[in-house]
Amino acid sequence: GDDGGGSGSSGDDKITLGFAQVGAESGWRTANTKSIQESAAAEGIELKFNDGQGKQENQIKAIRSFITQRVDVIAFSPVVESGWDPVLKEAKDAGIPVILTDRAVDSKDTSLYKTFLGSDFVEEGKKAGEWLVKEYEGKSDPVNIVELQGTPGAAPAIDRKEGFEEVIKADPKFKIVASQTGKFERTGGKQTMETMLQSVKDIDVLYAHNDDMGLGAIEAIEAAGKKPGQDIKIITVDAVKDGMTALSEGKINYIVECSPLLGPQLMDLVKKVNNKEEVPTRILTEETTFTPEQAKEALPNRKY
């Protein structure tokens, strides 16, 4: 691209992008980071990367630091929705455009950022619910659902729960009989599932907020002598490679994709924003859903 208007300290015509990541709390996140780093390198964009270690205060510090370092564009995945207005105003005052990735902010003042690129967690929950509704269409027996929630208070956990509930509540035969946290981890998923298997009779469906918990739960189900995917139907979100493998083996029945590969789209936006081109304020990542058959097809090309 040509000279970044924000008087890059670099002086050359390379664009500098400051990217404040949430952290490295999961494989998904690492894939996301990697995608951004690789596409930045491919596009010749200089990337200043910061890991917020899951803390908002660190991300705010990082954004301030980017302002001090005079980057051309700032992009970040907000760890929470609220609380970005003051620091975004600073960026605005310094004339540095901001792009949100992966997660949104709830700011009223939409002039604070140029665009938001990412998935919609509520939508993901809805997709999971819709598949379930379709799967049990025409049957009237009650369906006992157990839910493995993410970390209490985390946005994806809250939204995926909300979206899912919204869809299934229309039909009274669907009943969430237990909903506990597995903290987005495999071990957590496994241990929580172990307990649920004991305390809940007749589980028909498991809905896990991410693949990892689902994979942990599968181990617990197998150890209890049941067949995952058949005795208990399993829906998860993310579609990481391990999850897709399990899906293709029929241990998971349905996965809602939540793609971490935002890099190319983001770099595209960065260049546009830097050139002061107009960009839409909301860009959804291209995401799909997978059934076992689709998984078998997609698996060989799965990178993460």
Partner: protein, 341 residues
């Protein structure tokens, strides 16, 4: 000794109470059945879930007995699991027992090195334990992520799986490992003079030195032991799900471990310690989490539930609290009656 016994009455009572709640509010909680020739059921799950915590807490007890603290156990767990899975993942045949043994040995050896590092900072450089181990807590997590490249490393190794999910004579291997380490630690400290010397160092480092105790060497040793325990716990943790997760393995386990130690009757200021108490404390904490789930307490409430249990338990254990609660009203007249003419 009677004093110690008295202290442990309360965690036992609390454990009983939790199990009672589970019995009432969750049916099938106590169903233990034999499936595929091994024991199966929630109580067994609790024991299995508490195995890593028991291990970490045993090491922590020894560290605390010398008046120290080890915040790095969670990171060491992550590093150890990551190391083992990395090696196993690279094996040509992941099911080879030799290869897995090598991986396990390498992981524990790495943990020992990390423990040595902690011990060096504390005993030789004289850095306050909380800060010395904080360094490894932060950097160790980075190291674990480095080993796993931030991803979850999956392994398909049946020998490795045995550590976390296997059964021997119907009993879970992870539980057997934890019990073995506990027994070894108990024998080492109580059948030799190690326990006495540790308690002495914890009671007064200055006086211990003047009594000819090699406080420095002992201090290094307890950090090494603690790291070794954490390393084994990390193996169980990672073997349980046949994967290594550098980010989440052992996250915040240091707090639970310290809590277990204190519930078990060991003071954080060092000195007298009780390994049996620690094990009890660890099991109590594991039961707490499981019971909350079994009873169906919503996740966002679990923390409050845990707080209430901890507060009640600590108050019950506090002699000062019991004295205030029970003795007050009766004290004066009773004492007066005894005064001789």
């Amino acid at each position: 000794m009677t004093f110690l016994k008295n202290r442990l009455v309360w965690p036992v009572a609390m454990l009983a109470l939790l199990l009672l709640c589970a019995l009432i509010f969750s049916d099938g909680f106590f169903d233990i059945r034999i499936q595929d020739g091994h024991l199966f059921g929630t109580p067994i799950n609790i024991l299995r879930a508490s195995a890593p915590l028991v291990l970490v807490a045993v090491g922590m007890t020894l560290v605390i007995s010398t008046g120290g603290i080890d915040l790095s156990v969670g990171s060491v767990m992550a590093v150890s699991g990551a190391m083992a899975c990395l090696i196993i993942g690279d094996l040509a045949n992941q099911n080879s027992v030799g290869g897995v043994t090598l991986a396990v040995v390498a992981a524990i050896a790495l943990s020992l090195v990390l423990g040595l590092w902690n011990g060096f900072l504390v005993a030789v450089l004289g850095i306050q334990p909380i800060i010395a181990t904080l360094i490894l807590m932060v950097a160790g997590r980075g190291l674990a992520q480095l080993i796993t490249s931030g991803q979850i490393i999956n392994v398909q190794s049946s020998p490795y799986k045995v550590i976390g999910t296997g059964f021997v004579l119907g009993l879970p291997v992870s539980v057997l490992i934890a019990v073995a380490v506990l027994v070894i630690a108990a024998l080492l400290t109580r059948r030799t003079a190690l326990g006495l010397l540790l308690e002495s160092v914890g009671g007064s480092p200055v006086a211990s030195r003047l009594a000819g105790i090699q406080a420095r060497r002992l201090t290094i040793m307890v950090y090494v032991v603690s790291a070794a325990c954490a390393g084994i716990a990390g193996l169980i943790y990672s073997s349980n799900v046949s994967s290594a997760d550098g980010n989440n393995a052992g996250n915040l386990i240091e707090l639970d471990a310290i809590l277990a130690v204190v519930i078990g009757g060991t003071a954080l200021t060092g000195g007298r310690f009780s390994l049996a108490g620690t094990a009890l404390g660890a099991i109590l904490i594991a039961t707490l989490d499981t019971t909350a789930q079994a009873v169906g307490i919503p996740p966002e409430t679990t923390l409050v539930f845990k707080a209430v249990v901890v507060v009640v338990l600590c108050l019950a254990q506090s002699p000062a609290f019991r004295a205030r609660l029970f003795r007050r009203p009766a004290a004066r007249p009773a004492a007066r009656a005894e005064v001789p003419a």
